[in-house]
Symmetry: C2
Subunit: 136 residues, 2 copies
């Protein structure tokens, strides 16, 4: 196993007023073929503004930056400070226009590098026996 792997951005998150979209770089345009068949996608992006040794060393946080929430390991949260700065959001696809995927909303900053897009396939049946801690 290698010590480290390389991630190359494949696009950017863009936001203006109430509109959000993914701008896919020309080199990756062909990878969009057939996306229009899906109502939802998983978008993986990079928390690029946190790409510092300090932010990558954060292993525990108070979720949602609320000190009333118990100190929690970042793997049990969606914290934007974590060892590998990957954000993951499921989005609804509103429209696809050339290299742009219009989406409903995303909890990423304008300009965030997109590192992967995956079709989202919903469960056939609701998940049974889900369990969440109180802070959620």
């Amino acid at each position: 196993m290698a010590d480290r792997y390389t991630i190359c951005p494949v696009g950017l998150i863009r936001k203006r007023d109430d509109t959000a979209w993914i701008e896919v770089f020309a080199d990756y345009r062909e990878a969009m073929l057939g996306l229009e068949g899906f109502s939802h996608i998983h978008v993986l992006f990079w928390f690029h503004e946190n790409d510092t040794p300090e932010k990558r060393a954060v292993l525990q946080v108070h979720p949602r930056r609320d000190p009333a929430n118990p100190l929690t390991g970042v793997f049990a949260t969606h914290s934007p400070a974590r060892p590998n700065l990957i954000g993951l959001t499921r989005c609804r696809v509103l429209a696809i226009e050339d290299n742009r995927i219009r989406i409903d909303a995303i909890d990423a900053l304008d300009g965030s590098p997109v590192i992967d897009i995956k079709c989202f396939i919903p469960d056939r049946e609701p998940l049974a026996d889900t369990r969440l801690p109180d802070w959620v």
Copy 2:
């Protein structure tokens, strides 16, 4: 925006017979605090055996390696050949023992590097208006 970002493995997928678990490296053990409160997690791993320029250049595939399925962009699939070799699976947590997270099953090879773990928070209501292409 940088040209590229660095991913460091935080653990490994392990599989023996019918058992699967994540072995979290000692350096990241603290990031597991509170994971036991969740029934499900998203596991992000690296398709390390595909980390070659050739596999990373694959932009279109026949889903599920079935030539009867239409040629499809990798962003509209879960193909293990893609520009950034990230796999994403939702798993049920069966038990947590020290640095091991026992999970129900995962579509990753034994020895695959784990690059992130995130708590999974299910939808409060079923998703409305989902759409999928015929090949799914």
